[in-house]
């Protein structure tokens, strides 16, 4: 495992190395810029193929042990998009790079391989995605429910048209009124 240790790694370099090593897995790649009190800050956003997810993450290890902030997601209608937010270069003033890998899953096949073999700390966030999007994380070492109450067993609240969630949300207030 490489350490950045004082040497600045530019975001363009990270992008190039990923493209060189796992070019086939990258669908789109974009470096976004934002000014904070007049100083420019960049972040890398990549849409990647599901089967290349782990290979792309492995490339990050060449630089430093990547920090996984969280896995977030969006319901895009017929697809669910998962976003893996990583950072590299922490420990050096103003040199941290924000890297996001987005993977789209078809709602007919909501499966994704676990990344806990690479980063054990991904476990809780993967468990959360299983519950909230109804995704199956293949190979997850602990697939217990994490956050939702037992009466939401069949509900996936972050799926927009989830009928069970809608029913429960409606019922909660109905019960209060009856009392």
């Amino acid at each position: 495992m490489g350490e950045i240790g004082g040497k600045e790694v530019r975001i363009e370099e990270i992008e190039n190395v990923i493209k060189e090593k796992v070019g086939k897995g990258v669908i789109t790649s974009e470096i976004r810029k934002r000014k904070v009190v007049g100083k420019e800050r960049k972040s890398l956003w990549m849409r990647i193929k599901k089967e290349s997810l782990k290979d792309v993450i492995k490339v990050l290890f060449d630089f430093q042990y990547p920090h996984l902030s969280v896995i977030s997601g969006s319901d895009l209608g017929d697809k669910v998009e998962l976003l893996y937010h990583f950072t590299l270069g922490y420990g050096e003033p103003q040199k941290e790079q924000l890297i996001t890998f987005a993977v789209q899953l078809d709602k007919k096949d909501l499966t994704i391989p676990t990344i806990t073999d690479l980063i054990p700390g991904a476990l809780l966030t993967e468990r959360e995605k299983q519950e909230f999007f109804g995704i199956k994380v293949i190979g997850i070492p602990d697939s217990r429910r994490a956050f939702l109450a037992d009466d939401l067993k069949n509900a996936h609240p972050w799926i927009r048209d989830d009928k069970e969630t809608a029913r429960i949300a409606k019922d909660v207030h109905a019960k209060e009124v009856k009392k």
């Binding site: 042990y65 969006s74 922490y90 420990g91 050096e92 609240p157």
Partner: protein
């Protein structure tokens, strides 16, 4: 019959914001296994936030955590501002830093009191919380509120800090700077606290990295992560922030105390630096809320907002698609990452050390509700108070040595 006993701890206690249930496997006094269970208070805040306009969500996100009531909305507004490419006035960015740093001081003081209580020093708990009142007064003085500040708006802040208010803020930072030596005497140089915290609840650097630990928990283990330093946001690029770490980090409870106590002084410095550097100017990009609401309906895109809360990195992801409500919103609090480090810290320690280890990551859970002891097939209910007593007794024991 197995020699080990499983002890469930938690999840509910009226004083807690985030109830967590632990199952602790003990062999005599020694912990040999530990597991945690979260989710007893999942309120569906993100779900609600995806169904209302972002301005309402700013105030909703303040209520994610009563202590980090500034960092959560701060991340949220930063993400929205990035999506809409809103230029935030510089003075507003400085005011945001001041409020965030005041929040850090009050959170660390609150935590120090809780830690003292867990070890059995209730007089120190009362003393630290008394000292903490000064910063609470200042927070109220500049925001109008003690807990949920209502300070943030998309494109800036809702209240200015006038020059007339500077002396009172400076007086408070000076107060903490003068007291810092005494606080360090109590927490870092006291032999009993040292005995109770040195080499207890160790999280190695390797495991801190693997488990994605953040904030003081990571820094105490030698991982120099601090968003203010690494990925400066709001006015931090102009300020001098260096991640505080022990000289030779071990990753024990003592190191976590060390990091937090030193950060109180650091926050006081940052606030003074802000007061010196802040230029007069506007504090809000768009004053008209109706126009802002209309503008928000044209926002399209995705962005993340990050901030270093007292407990570590807060991370928000927001996606807008030209609708009133965001398409998606994910709020990730630091405890979300740090809870995963508990089993590593607890296993191998004594049962009496569990309260201080659990509290050492500064979760929103600081004491335990009740314990069910399952012994020889019989269930025995032990209250949280009794578990706390175990910890106090251990302190008395080590003091006699």
């Amino acid at each position: 019959m197995s020699k080990t006993v499983n002890i469930p701890i938690g999840p509910v206690h009226p004083a807690l914001k985030e109830p967590v249930r632990f199952t602790i496997e003990v062999e005599g006094e020694k912990v040999v296994g530990a597991d945690y269970e979260v989710g007893y208070v999942h309120r569906g805040i993100e779900w609600a936030g995806m169904r209302q306009n972002p301005i309402k969500t700013i105030h909703l996100s303040e209520r994610i955590c009563g202590i980090c009531a500034f960092c959560h909305p701060l991340c949220f507004v930063q993400a929205i501002e990035e999506i809409g490419d809103v230029e935030v006035p510089e003075r507003a960015e400085y005011i945001r830093v001041i409020t965030a740093e005041l929040e850090r001081i009050h959170s660390h003081m609150l935590w120090a009191g809780v830690a003292a209580h867990e070890i059995g020093f209730d007089s120190i708990l009362n003393l630290t919380w008394n000292i903490r009142e000064k910063v609470m007064d200042i927070v109220e003085y500049i925001t109008g509120n003690r807990v949920t500040y209502g300070m943030l708006q998309i494109g800036g802040v809702r209240r200015n800090i006038t020059e007339k208010q500077y002396p009172k803020i400076r007086e408070a930072t000076q107060y903490y700077r003068e007291l810092l030596d005494k606080i360090e005497d109590v927490f870092l140089r006291d032999p009993t606290i040292r005995m109770r915290s040195r080499d207890v609840g160790i999280l190695t650097k390797k495991r801190a990295l693997e488990l994605c630990a953040v904030g003081p928990t990571a820094r105490a283990s030698g991982v120099p992560k601090d968003v203010r330093q690494d990925f400066p946001y709001i006015a931090y690029p102009d300020l001098d922030v260096k991640a505080i770490m022990p000289e030779e980090p071990i990753g024990d409870v003592y190191d976590r105390i060390f990091v937090r106590i030193r950060e109180i002084g650091q926050s006081a410095d940052i606030i003074e630096q802000c007061l010196d550097q802040m230029e007069p100017g506007p504090i809000l990009a768009e004053q008209n809320v109706a126009k802002l609401l209309a503008d928000l309906q044209n926002f399209e895109g995705e962005a993340v907002g990050r901030a270093e809360a007292p407990r570590g990195e807060v991370f928000h992801y927001v996606r807008m698609n030209k609708n009133e409500a965001p398409l998606s919103w994910k709020a990730r609090a630091p405890t979300y990452n740090n809870v995963q480090t508990w089993p590593d810290m607890i296993v191998g320690e004594e049962l009496a050390d569990v309260p201080i280890i659990v509290a050492s990551i500064d979760p929103c859970v600081s004491c335990t509700d009740r314990v069910t002891l399952i012994k020889d097939g019989k269930e025995e209910i032990v209250t949280g108070e009794q578990l706390h007593k175990l910890s106090v007794l251990k302190t008395k024991r080590v003091m006699r040595r």
